[in-house]
C-alpha cells in the first residue's frame, strides 16, 4: 500500500481556457474565455478546492497561453487555493522568466504557487517562440536543470547549450517558502517517470484515456527510482489530472460533457488525424474503469478513491471546460467538486 498523506486527497481543476461558442458553432472572444477562467479560479477558491492549474495552450479554442499571468491575477484574488501551471511548456520558454513570474505570483499569494514543467500536449509554442520541435529533448532537459538551479538559491550559476550561461547572477523575488514546488508533468511514459524519480521531483500524470489504474505501476516505478536515487520525504509524491465533470446526476454530467468533448475530438481529427468521435465510445469512457470522471458526486468520489488505491496520489484535478462547455456548467461542477465531492472523498479516505 502506498503511503497515505495525512492531509487526505487534494482536489482541484485545470484548464487551458475554453472559448465559448455561439449558437451557430463559431467561437466567441478569447478575452471572454480568460475572464471566465479567472472567475472559475476565484470560485474554486471560495468553495474550498485545493488546487487550480492553468495552461499552456496557444489555440483560439484553448487560449490560456500565459499561465504566469493567469496565476498572478488569481494570486491576488484568492485566499487559500494553491495555484500552478498545467503545464508550463518549459522547452519553449525562458526558465529565468518562468521562475520570476511564478515567484512574483507566489509573493502576492503568500506562498501558494507551484510550477509544473512538461512537454505539454500541444506543439504550437515551438514555431511561436522560434524553437524546433526536434530539439525538444535537449531543450527540456537543460531548461529543467536551469529551473531547478534557479529554485535552489538566490544567486545562480549555470551553463548549457540551449541558452547563454549565467555567471553568479541574482534571480528575484525569492519564493515565500524558500523554493517553489516544481512538478514534472507527463502523460505517463516510463522514461519520463524515471526522470522525475531521478531528479526527486514530484510527478504529475495527465491521464486522458485508457485505464487510469494502469498508471499504478508507473507510480511504483517513480517511487522506486526516487528511493534508489536517494530522494525521500514529502517531495516524492504523485498527482493526477484527468478529464472530469460533476453534475447533480450522472446523466446530466454525461450529457453536459459530451458536446464539448465532441467539439474537441473534431478539432483533433482535423489537427492530428484523430478518429471521428462516437457517442458510444464516449459513454464507455465515462464509466469505471475508464478515464473520464464524468458523473454525480458519489460516482466521481468513488472513482477517485479507486484510483488512489492504485496510484497513491495526493491530488486529483480535473479538466472540465472543453470544447465550449457552457460556463454555468463549469461553475456548477466546480461548486459540486468543492461542496459535495470533497467531503465524500475525505470520508472514503478515512475509511481506508
Amino acid at each position: 500500500m502506498h503511503e497515505a498523506s495525512p492531509l487526505g486527497m487534494e482536489l482541484g481543476v485545470y484548464s487551458f481556457g475554453d472559448t465559448q461558442r455561439n449558437a451557430d458553432g463559431t467561437l466567441r472572444a478569447t478575452a471572454e474565455a480568460i475572464a471566465n477562467l479567472h472567475e472559475a479560479i476565484v470560485l474554486a477558491d471560495a468553495v474550498g478546492l485545493d488546487y487550480f492549474g492553468v495552461g499552456e495552450h496557444h489555440t483560439v479554442d484553448m487560449p490560456a497561453s500565459s499561465p504566469g499571468a493567469m496565476v498572478a491575477a488569481a494570486a491576488g484574488a484568492t485566499q487559500q487555493i494553491r495555484l500552478g501551471s498545467s503545464v508550463t511548456v518549459l522547452s519553449t520558454d525562458d526558465p529565468v522568466r518562468v521562475f520570476q513570474q511564478f515567484a512574483t505570483a507566489d509573493a502576492i499569494s503568500g506562498g501558494r504557487v507551484e510550477i509544473t514543467a512538461g512537454r505539454g500536449s500541444s506543439v504550437e509554442s515551438y514555431p511561436l517562440f522560434g524553437y524546433e520541435l526536434s530539439d525538444h529533448d535537449q531543450l527540456y532537459a537543460e531548461k529543467l536543470d536551469l529551473l531547478m538551479t534557479l529554485n535552489s538559491g538566490e544567486r545562480t550559476s549555470w551553463c548549457g547549450s540551449v541558452r547563454s550561461g549565467i555567471d553568479d547572477l541574482v534571480v528575484v523575488p525569492r519564493p515565500v517558502q524558500g523554493s517553489l514546488p516544481i512538478w514534472l508533468g507527463t502523460g505517463g511514459s516510463a522514461p519520463s517517470t524515471v526522470r522525475a524519480g531521478r531528479l526527486g521531483l514530484p510527478v504529475s500524470y495527465g491521464i486522458i484515456g485508457g485505464i487510469p489504474a494502469r498508471f499504478g505501476r508507473l507510480a511504483d516505478l517513480y517511487r522506486a527510482t526516487a528511493q534508489r536515487s536517494g530522494h525521500h520525504g514529502p517531495n516524492i509524491k504523485v498527482s493526477a489530472g484527468t478529464f472530469g465533470l460533476i453534475a447533480p446526476t450522472k446523466k446530466d454530467a454525461v450529457d453536459r460533457f459530451y458536446p464539448g468533448w465532441r467539439n474537441l475530438q473534431l478539432l483533433m481529427t482535423q489537427r492530428r488525424h484523430w478518429p471521428e468521435p462516437e457517442r458510444a465510445r464516449y459513454e464507455e469512457q465515462t464509466h469505471a474503469p475508464f478515464a473520464y470522471y464524468v458523473g454525480d458526486p458519489d460516482d466521481v468520489a468513488e472513482r477517485i478513491i479507486d484510483l488512489y488505491r492504485h496510484l497513491g496520489h495526493m491530488r486529483h484535478f480535473f479538466q472540465m471546460d472543453l470544447g465550449g462547455l457552457p460556463h454555468e456548467h463549469f461553475l456548477e461542477a466546480i461548486t459540486l467538486l468543492g461542496t459535495e465531492v470533497k467531503p465524500r472523498v475525505q470520508r472514503l479516505i478515512d475509511r481506508l
Binding site: V123, Y126, H136, P191, R217, L221, T225
Partner: protein
C-alpha cells in the same frame, strides 16, 4: 484481382523454412515499447528490452513496468533475438545501430506524425512510405511494418484467442514474405488476426490519418479497408 492475401496462405508456404520465433527484443521502453514487451511476455515469449538511459534505470523500469522482461543493452538484447521490435520515437530511428540488426527480422512499429512530433527531414523529403525510408536505413534487415496502427493500451486489451469471432486484425507490410509470415505467427500469439497488405510500400495504407490507423477492424473488414485504400478503382 485483389493482390491482398490473408497471410496464412503465405505462412503455410514458408512454414517449413521459418524457424519459430521464441525470443523477442524490444528497442524502446516508452509507451509503445513497454506495451509491446508486456504483450510479448503475456504471449509466452522470452522478452528482452533496451532503452536509452542508465542501465540501472532500465533494469528497474523493466522490473516494475515490464515484469518478466530482461533489461539489456541494445546489442545484447538483439544478439540472439529471433525478432526485433523497434519502438523508439521515429525521430531517433537513426540512433539504433543498423549493423547489429543485420539479418534480423525487424518490426517497424514507428509512425511519422508531424502535428505531434514535428517535421523530420528524412520523411518530409521522401515520398516513400515511412517504413521504406526506415528500411533503407536498416538495409541488412528484413523490415516488417505492423503494430503501428493499434493504440498502446489497445494492444493489451483487444487481443483474443485465435478463432474468436470478430477478433481484431492487424495489417502487415513487408518486402520479405517469409519475415511477414514469421511476424504473423507472433501477432497471432499476441491475440490478433492479420492481413498481409503486400510490400512495404503498401504500409502507407495504415499510416497516421488513414481509416485503418484510426479504426479497429476484424480480418474481413481490414481486408476490405486495405483494398479500398490500395486499389480504389476496384
Amino acid at each position: 484481382m485483389a493482390e491482398l492475401r490473408r497471410l496464412e496462405l503465405v505462412s503455410s508456404t514458408h512454414e517449413k523454412q521459418e524457424s519459430v520465433v521464441q525470443t523477442i527484443a524490444v528497442l524502446g521502453v516508452g509507451r509503445v515499447g513497454s506495451a509491446v514487451a508486456r504483450t510479448a511476455l503475456a504471449a509466452g515469449y522470452d522478452t528482452r528490452v533496451a532503452g536509452s538511459g542508465a542501465a540501472e534505470d532500465i533494469e528497474l523500469l523493466a522490473e516494475i513496468v515490464i515484469p518478466g522482461a530482461r533489461a539489456m543493452t541494445a546489442t545484447d538484447a538483439v544478439s540472439d533475438a529471433d525478432l526485433v521490435v523497434v519502438a523508439v520515437p521515429l525521430s531517433k530511428y537513426r540512433s539504433v545501430d543498423a549493423s547489429m540488426l543485420a539479418g534480423k527480422t525487424v518490426v517497424d512499429a514507428m509512425n511519422y506524425w508531424p502535428p505531434v512530433d514535428g517535421q523530420i527531414a528524412d520523411f518530409e523529403e521522401d515520398i516513400a512510405s515511412t517504413s521504406e525510408v526506415v528500411s533503407r536505413y536498416f538495409s541488412g534487415s528484413r523490415v516488417v511494418k505492423t503494430l503501428n496502427h493499434i493504440g498502446y493500451h489497445e494492444l493489451e486489451d483487444d487481443g483474443a484467442p485465435s478463432g474468436t469471432a470478430g477478433r481484431r486484425a492487424l495489417a502487415i507490410a513487408s518486402d520479405d514474405e517469409a519475415a511477414a509470415a514469421a511476424v504473423q505467427d507472433v501477432l497471432d500469439r499476441f491475440g490478433f488476426d492479420t492481413v498481409y497488405a503486400g510490400p512495404l510500400a503498401t504500409g502507407r495504407a495504415f499510416e497516421p490519418g488513414t481509416a485503418i490507423f484510426n479504426g479497429a477492424f476484424s480480418q474481413n473488414d481490414l481486408l476490405r479497408e486495405l483494398e479500398l485504400n490500395l486499389h480504389p478503382t476496384h
